[in-house]
């Protein structure tokens, strides 16, 4: 039994014909973030610090839907959210509606550690960020041309749906334009980690759903839905927020382990394959015993994991296609 870490960059309808130039940078980024996490664990950094560190890195990389690279609201703005949880103490922190904070996950941690509250959002959260002196930038910093395009396509897809009321047309559009297909469904980055003493932590961060209504909150900042950690396991979920909330996904993995005595893998598979609709969810999880699972019922999930015995892997689809 040693340390273990897993990261994800979002689950969704990721087309297997995803072009190399859209695939490779993300795989590289996952490897890079995983490496950062591994080095941190090897230097005995506590898992809570490790998950924050890794998610900060993922937020800074524009290829994923968190921090820079966040998808856009229907108004073309970013509204970022995140949460973090410490398995030992079960303390947690969450933020929503951030527009200028460079690292949402770090602000979530500050909510946990510097306020009597768990969850701050919108103007209140932005004000708190300023009081704490965290790094803030103009919100244009987070917007990438890719996401401007995604929003445009999403709006067109909605219009097509309304104008023609014809699903087939929309599906064709999806096939021709891989970046509209499923890419627009990709939400969230996350990291879970356990050290060799069985200390667990989880963190998740996202820009949310493309073309979402301003003010929409997803599963990511909802403790028990997108993020959960206790003494048994740490879980970070991704996919369709509404399904993850209703399914209390992250909490259920731990609950199945605790109340039904399922193993980490059995619990994760049960939640993903039996308790949530197909095509809506993926999750990464580690157990106090150093096990790792990465389970999803979508076409793919950008992910990676590493364990102390030297094994590591980065993958997208289910038959780990890594070049």
């Amino acid at each position: 039994m040693g340390w273990a870490i897993a990261v994800h960059g979002g689950a969704g309808d990721i087309s297997r014909s995803l072009p190399h130039d859209r695939r490779q940078p993300r795989e590289e980024a996952l490897r890079h973030c995983l490496q950062i996490g591994v080095e941190a664990l090897e230097s005995n950094l506590p898992p809570l610090d490790v998950v924050e560190l890794v998610v900060r890195e993922l937020e800074n990389i524009p290829h994923f839907n968190a921090g820079r690279g966040s998808v856009l609201t229907s108004e073309g703005t970013v509204e970022m959210e995140a949460s973090i949880m410490d398995g030992n103490t079960m303390r947690c922190g969450a933020v929503s509606g951030l527009t200028t904070v460079v690292n949402a996950v770090s602000l979530a941690r500050l909510v946990m550690e510097k306020t009597p509250h768990i969850y701050l959002a919108f103007d209140g959260a932005e004000q708190f960020a300023r009081e704490q002196g965290v790094e803030i930038v103009d919100s244009s910093h987070f917007i990438t041309p890719e996401n401007v395009e995604r929003l445009k396509l999403a709006k067109e897809a909605n219009r097509v749906q309304i104008d023609y009321n014809a699903q087939p047309i929309q599906n064709d559009t999806k096939k021709e334009k891989p970046c509209a297909n499923g890419d627009s469904q990709i939400g969230t980055v996350g990291c879970v980690a356990v050290d060799s003493h069985g200390n667990l932590a989880s963190a998740t961060s996202t820009g949310g759903l493309v073309n979402k209504m301003s003010g929409r909150i997803g599963d990511t900042p909802v403790i028990g839905a997108g993020t959960y950690a206790n003494e048994l396991c740490a879980v970070s979920a991704t996919g369709k927020g509404e399904s993850i909330i209703r399914g209390t996904v992250a909490r259920d993995v731990a609950a199945l382990m605790e109340f039904k005595g399922l193993s980490l893998k059995e619990a994760a598979d049960c939640v993903v394959h039996e308790r949530t609709p197909k095509g809506t969810v993926g999750l990464i999880a580690v157990s106090a015993a150093g096990e790792v699972v990465m389970s999803f019922n979508t076409t793919g999930m950008f992910r990676g994991f590493a364990t102390e015995d030297g094994y590591s892997e980065v993958a997208i689809w289910s038959d780990a296609q890594v070049e």
């Binding site: 079960m90 303390r91 947690c92 969450a94 929503s96 509606g97 306020t115 009597p116 509250h117 768990i118 969850y119 701050l120 959002a121 919108f122 103007d123 209140g124 959260a125 004000q127 708190f128 759903l209 979402k212 209504m213 301003s214 003010g215 929409r216 909150i217 997803g218 909802v222 403790i223 028990g224 839905a225 959960y228 927020g241 509404e242 909330i245 209703r246 399914g247 209390t248 909490r251 259920d252 609950a255 199945l256 109340f259 039904k260």
Partner: protein, 326 residues
């Protein structure tokens, strides 16, 4: 077994020195709400409609901490939140950061039914309210003189907590700050506003629903979200049961308390009361909270580990009870 059941609450964590007339007022409101729910259930209104109806009633009455009569933020304003969940299919809706919407629970329902999302907050939620044409009023409508007074006391209590001129151990004899050493959420019980109102119902078809609404913690930071709008923490409903929680938000969130009751029923096969007792006893650590719950079999239960919870329950076979203390 079978038949409808309903429970309502007006918050957990009650000042043991609460004047008798206030206790009476609270019991009357709870009774009135129960009777409203009972009529609705006898006319076969579905559970989801009943919980919304009752919580609207509780929001409109200024007595408890929701809608009108909400606790105030540190700025002296009101920010309300609510959530609702329908057991069959586990549909849900939630709102936070409302400042002008007269009935937050109804907006939460509209989020569930009329938006593609589950949870809307702050100005986005306010915009949605206007699009939906729900009743909106000035923020002042929700503010009661009583709560303005409480806010002042809460600020003073916080100041006293950090006043180093008062030697340790003398707090209880210095001034009139606390007559009772009880604290909840960092505030003396005399200024703590029991957070939240809620209602859980199972109708004659065995459908469960739950709804929770609140103004939140007295003197909270602007933008603070508690457990009430969080599905799985303050509110939960599924095929087996409906649950609404109240008390220290942090403790409820860490325990994912509402979901916990359903999870132990589902995964451990516990009955409703057993599940409620188990969760209250083992899941809260130092946290103080309470909850009400109904099961699809027409049972009703409640539990709390603090010194009181405003509550009422009734079942179709004629059982009815309203209470505050143990």
């Amino acid at each position: 077994m079978g038949g409808w059941a309903i429970a309502v609450h007006g918050g957990a964590g009650v000042d043991p020195n609460l004047p008798l007339h206030r206790q009476e007022e609270a019991k009357q409101l709870l009774t009135r709400c129960l009777n409203l729910g009972i009529s609705a259930l006898n006319s076969n209104l579905p559970a989801i409609d009943v919980v919304e109806l009752i919580v609207r009633e509780l929001e409109t009455d200024p007595l408890f901490n929701s809608g009108r009569g909400s606790a105030l933020t540190e700025k002296g304003t009101v920010e309300m939140e609510a959530s609702i969940m329908d057991g069959p299919k586990r549909r849900c809706g939630a709102v936070s950061g409302l400042t002008t919407v007269k009935n937050p629970i109804s907006l939460a329902r509209l989020v569930m039914e009329k938006s593609p999302h589950s949870y809307l907050a702050f100005s986005g939620a306010e915009d949605f309210a206007r699009q939906q044409g729900v009743e909106v009023v000035d923020n002042e409508y929700f503010i009661t003189p009583e709560n303005v007074g409480m806010l002042k006391l809460a600020k003073e209590a916080n100041a006293i907590l950090f006043d180093y001129r008062i030697p340790n151990g003398c707090e209880t004899t210095c001034g009139a700050n606390v007559e009772s050493p009880l604290h909840m959420n960092g505030l003396p019980i005399s200024v703590y506003a029991p957070e939240t109102v809620g209602c859980v119902v199972v109708d004659r078809e065995g459908r469960c629903a739950a709804a929770t609404s609140t103004g939140g913690l007295m003197n909270k930071m602007a933008g603070r979200i508690g457990d009430s709008p969080l599905i799985g923490s303050g509110t939960y409903a599924c095929d087996l049961c409906g649950v609404s929680c109240t008390g220290e938000g942090e403790a409820i969130i860490r325990a994912t308390l509402a979901r916990e009751v359903a999870a132990v029923m589902e995964y451990k096969g516990l009955g409703l009361q057993e599940a409620v007792d188990f969760c209250i006893k083992t899941r809260l650590d130092d946290g103080k909270a309470g909850l009400i719950a109904v099961s699809k079999n027409g049972e009703v239960a409640y539990g709390f580990n603090c010194n009181g919870m405003f509550r009422g329950c009734a079942t179709e076979n004629g059982f009815m009870e309203v209470g505050i203390w143990e």
